[in-house]
Amino acid sequence: MAPRVDVPERREPPSAPSETPSTQPKISVRDLDFFYGRTQALHNIVLDIPERVVMAFIGPSGCGKSTFLRTLNRMNDVIPATRVSGKVTIDDHDIYAAGTDVVALRRKVGMVFQKSNPFPKSIFENVAYGLRINRVTSSKSELAGRVEQALQDAALWNEVKDRLKMSALSLSGGQQQRLCIARALAIRPQILLMDEPASALDPIATSKIEELIFDLKKQYTIVIVTHNMQQAARVSDITAFFLLGKLIEVNATEKMFTAPNEKLTEDYITGRFG
């Protein structure tokens, strides 16, 4: 018998989509196929993501979880020779329908990348960038206020408030990643996509990001891709397991890591492959 994965005590009861059928899902995916050239990377994905939960995507490398995450804000559009079919609706809007404003979509669906990617600008300008391009405000004091708020929300304000004019590249790796989260939060999206946000960070920086995710859940719907199953267990309410481009199982996180429905999930979680 393989050892069970430790599941830490939860601070809130999980809410799986099956248990809350009455609420409208924030994101709804139907029959999604995705192709890189001729290679099919995603097969017939069907998934609902409720509002204000943290959903984690787990699975071995190359299983399509990052690709799927990137279909939710049409980030794959920038990769040449890709093709998508099926339906992704966010608040009842089909985001792949003709005439969709991708810029407006990405404003609503923020994204944090695996590798922190601050712009070679000052700390302040990094956070202000999204506000400026979206013409959120023309008043300087309001801009400064929203930058401060975003940095507060990303739990970075106290560390950088005295050096907002310094280069963002002078920050440590963990601080840079929180800066990227602040940058995404500044334009107040409704959904936050996180592609392995802590994979390049040390344990202390990782725990800061995880605490942050827990706080952000009150306001945002968060979808996080992670390689780290303990992390998925710690931060998420619902977990989805991907394998070879297929969605194998979606379940309340607690259930997923103690008594998954699928044999494949159990094999992966208990470390038999992947």
Binding site: P118, F119, S122, Y129, G130, S167, I187
Partner: protein
């Protein structure tokens, strides 16, 4: 474990030492040649260099004279060519790196590469045909455009290479914040590559400031200080050419001094651009 060199290691170490010293020797040759040229020019030129020489215009043999008008002419020509060649070159680079992903882009790239190899005198003759003949006279504008045309492919290709060095994650980061493509390019990608693009621009300016042939057909040269962009204008390179080809020893000395001034000018431009585009972040 035995760390004493085995027999086979001896030849390996000898050939390693041989190749290392060979590369060092070649570097020494290249750098040495440059320093010999610089030292020789300085030695020959410094004798005729004085304040009068820098501010006066050319005079008949025996009356001294200077290259003040040629210095100003060269700077004017560089300004015109930069105003014309740098924006177009940078735009070409942006197109090749950021916009054009199609077959057209590879055709443009091939043409730009071919353009780099065109002898500068051909560019001069071309501008003579399309600008000087219709205007019916030589002019600073024609000279500047000819030099600018030489700059376009150099700046275009270096800009493209520099933009390609900007990590893709930066573009995605900006796109994910809802930035349209043009704002990503202008606000994030170009500034991130600014110092590299400036280096490319500098190389292009240094390259054209040494050009003589295209100016013979376009700016022509002048013995007077410029008063208008619509008339022939002097330049250091053409002035050096005229002085050097003359049969007078006095003018030969002036040619050396003018060469020294030209080299100093190029060095000065390089330093100024370097300081201005120093990485701030």
């Amino acid at each position: 474990m035995n760390f004493v060199a085995a027999r086979g290691d001896r030849t390996r170490r000898i050939s390693s030492a041989l190749m290392t010293s060979l590369t060092a020797l070649c570097t020494l040759l290249a750098v040495g040649a440059l320093f010999i040229i610089l030292a020789y020019i300085a030695l020959k030129g410094i004798g005729s260099l004085n304040f009068q020489f820098l501010v006066d215009r050319p005079r008949p043999v025996g009356e001294g004279g200077g290259i003040g008008n040629a210095i100003i002419g060269s700077l004017v020509l560089l300004a015109i060519s930069s105003a014309f060649g740098l924006p177009i070159g940078i735009a070409v680079g942006v197109y090749l790196s950021e916009v054009g992903k199609s077959r057209l882009a590879s055709i443009v790239r091939f043409i730009v590469d071919t353009l780099t190899g065109i002898p500068s005198i051909v560019t001069g003759v071309f501008i003579y045909a399309i600008l000087v003949l219709p205007m019916k006279h030589f002019s600073a504008i024609a000279g500047g455009v000819a030099l600018g045309l030489i700059m376009v492919p150099i700046v275009g290709r270096t800009t493209e290479e520099m933009l390609k060095l900007v990590p893709h994650s930066l573009r995605e980061g900006a796109l994910a914040l809802g930035a349209p493509q043009w704002r990503v390019t202008l606000g994030v990608v170009l500034p991130a590559a600014a110092s590299g693009i400036a280096t490319g621009a500098m190389l292009a300016i240094a390259r054209v400031s040494g050009e003589t042939a295209p100016l013979l057909f376009t700016a022509f040269g002048s013995r007077f200080f410029p008063t208008s962009l619509n008339e022939p204008i002097a330049s250091l390179t053409v002035q050096i050419y005229n002085y050097a080809l003359s049969p007078y020893d006095e003018w030969h000395a002036l040619a050396w001094a003018a060469t020294l001034v030209l080299m100093t000018l190029i060095l000065g431009i390089n330093i100024v651009v370097r300081v201005l585009t120093r990485r701030k972040f």
